[in-house]
């Protein structure tokens, strides 16, 4: 409930805008000068447990330890692979950090340029040298499927509170999904279903700042055949993998009625959002073909990333002010 209050009074702030004049502490994407707190990025202002935060609307992915990321092998060396994790920093993956025994110079037999992996950020040092590891539950090489990229700032929206959104998409589309914190999403399943899942993700990306998003997406996915027509028409665009903004617009033109219903209704019954998902999520795990680890990693990640999750919020926040002091 409290969250909801914060959300409904959400204010858009630009860098340098005054957030608080004392009483509160500087949280994410803010900085302080004197005893005043200012926004350092453009986004929505939110207050949680004495901290003023700004939920950013755009920005690059900056790796943090324990983040799950979807990486693409850029180059292969005798003892390491270089992984592109969609951040300003390429990340080496050392042979000792993979679950296989790799002899010297045999690296390319295991992973080669262009291969996709699900990995965990292992170390990030003070000058942002990054290392990733695959010696982790759920880390794996991803074969088949396809990858789409979204803005890393929208990842928490795609995962949803406690993983509610992602498990709902998995259930409705019968796809296997991995959402990396770096904004890369790997999707595998029936081509028809992949298309549906991609559309759902694009829908979330587009509508990320609105209330009752989970319900809206659920409605979006439980669409009568009319939407499928629309899907077929926009299919070629999706294949291009690029985050094309036009996708959504076309869809809108094709199925204006559906769009209208999804726009109106969720705002009335936002309260349902919090109750429903947990049951759903548990239900999924047993029904789906997806291996247990998949489900697990998805959820773990979800908890980490969901910024509305209070406990996690506090944990991460504690370190934040110290970092900011360094900024001054």
């Amino acid at each position: 409930m409290e969250n909801e209050k914060n959300v409904s009074t959400r204010v858009l702030v630009t860098p340098g805008e005054l957030l608080s004049e004392g009483g509160l502490k500087a949280g994410k994407n803010t900085y302080w000068q004197g005893n005043k707190i200012y926004a350092s990025q453009m986004g929505f202002k939110s207050i949680t447990a004495n901290y003023v935060n700004v939920t950013p609307l755009s920005g690059r992915y900056i790796p943090r330890p324990n983040d799950l990321v979807v990486g693409v092998i850029m180059s292969v060396n005798p003892t390491t692979w270089l992984v592109d994790i969609n951040s300003p920093y390429p990340a080496p993956l050392h042979v000792t950090e993979v679950p296989w025994r790799v002899d010297f110079g045999e690296t390319s037999r295991f992973l080669n340029t262009g291969d996709t992996i699900l990995a965990k950020v292992f170390i990030v040092d003070e000058i942002k040298r990054v290392q990733v590891t695959m010696k982790d539950h759920g880390s794996r090489r991803l074969t088949g499927g396809q990858i789409i990229e979204i803005s890393p700032t929208k990842v928490p929206r795609v995962i949803g509170k406690g993983g509610s959104m992602i498990s709902m998409i998995k259930q409705k589309t019968m796809c296997r999904l991995f959402v990396g914190q770096n904004g890369r999403i790997w999707i595998d399943g029936d081509p028809e279903n992949i298309r549906l899942a991609v559309n759902a993700v694009r829908f979330i990306e587009r509508e990320s700042h609105r209330f009752g998003l989970t319900e809206a997406v659920e409605k979006y996915l439980t669409k009568p055949p009319s939407l499928k027509e629309g899907d077929n028409q926009i299919a070629p665009e999706i294949k291009s993998l690029s985050g094309d903004v036009n996708e959504g617009k076309q869809l809108r033109e094709i199925a204006p009625e559906e769009e209208a219903t999804t726009m109106d209704e969720p705002e009335q019954d936002t309260k349902g959002e919090e109750k429903a998902p947990p049951d759903d999520a548990e239900g999924d795990a047993s029904q789906e073909e997806v291996p247990l680890t998949t489900e697990k990693s998805g959820e773990e990640e979800a908890e980490k990333s969901d910024e509305e999750d209070l406990e996690e919020q506090e944990k991460t926040i504690v370190e934040e002010p110290y970092e900011r002091i360094g900024d001054q």
């Binding site: 860098p15 340098g16 200012y38 350092s40 453009m42 920093y89 000058i127 700042h209 900024d327």
Partner: protein
């Protein structure tokens, strides 16, 4: 200075009908480029400027990397068709200088130490020039930077003032710039009032200088509101 050109009309207004302390009309739009991390398009009188931000991204060659902070690389360039006589395309003395001062102004607000070893690329392209392109470019670049989600202290706002026919005026137009007596482009951080860019061409007495400075700073606060509005409109529209 060409004494023949009349820059003030009989009724005390300027050639384009502005009062001495009036800005030209400004239009800003954020997020106009799909492939850039952040972008902004700005029209300021007849100036037309596009700014694009890429980054923070990996910097090559590696010897240019700074292990303590990100570097800001700015490129201001004027299209060959931006002025009445064709401008020879490519970097020249003037645009190299402008790139440098704009880049340094932007660097002063970006939290560069959050992204060691990276680069923030700023591209400013002038499609149509009509005096005051450096302040127009800087104003646009700062909106684009916020649009890109680069952590920064505040937006930067820029504006010029100058002197024509012994009168201090705000925001010189092309004729006033060419035939006037002085031009004073300035950029400030509106939240603190810090000056991050100031150049002067021509001569001003100390009193005139103070007047021009105050006029430019006041105008910056007006422009600041337009910048914020442009950024907020981008998300309100969705």
């Amino acid at each position: 200075m060409n004494k023949e050109v009349k820059l003030l009309r009989e009724d005390g207004l300027r050639l384009d009908g502005r009062r001495y302390d009036e800005l030209r009309p400004i239009k800003i739009e954020a997020g106009v480029l799909n492939r850039a991390d952040g972008s902004a398009y700005l029209e300021w009188g007849s100036n037309k400027v596009l700014a694009a931000i890429y980054g923070p991204r990996e910097l090559h060659p590696r010897h240019m990397q700074n292990s303590m902070k990100a570097i800001v690389r700015c490129k201001y360039s004027m299209a060959s068709f931006s002025v009445p006589d064709r401008k020879r395309p490519g970097p020249d003395r003037r645009s190299t200088e402008i790139s440098k001062v704009i880049g340094e102004a932007l660097e002063s607000v970006i939290f560069t130490e959050q992204f060691p070893r990276t680069v923030v690329d700023v591209f400013i392209e002038v499609f149509q020039a009509d005096a005051g392109t450096r302040v127009a470019g800087l104003t646009a670049a700062s909106v684009a930077l916020a649009d890109a989600g680069v952590p920064m202290k505040a937006l930067i706002t820029a504006c010029a003032a100058g002197k024509v026919e012994d009168t201090v005026v705000l925001d010189l137009g092309k004729l006033e710039d060419n035939a006037g007596q002085a031009d004073l482009p300035m950029a400030i951080i509106p939240t603190t009032g810090e000056i991050v860019l100031m150049q002067m061409d021509g001569h001003l007495t100390p009193a005139e200088f103070r007047k021009a400075r105050d006029m430019a700073v006041n105008a910056c606060y007006q422009i600041y509101e337009m910048q914020k509005d442009a950024l907020k409109r981008r998300y309100a529209a969705e």
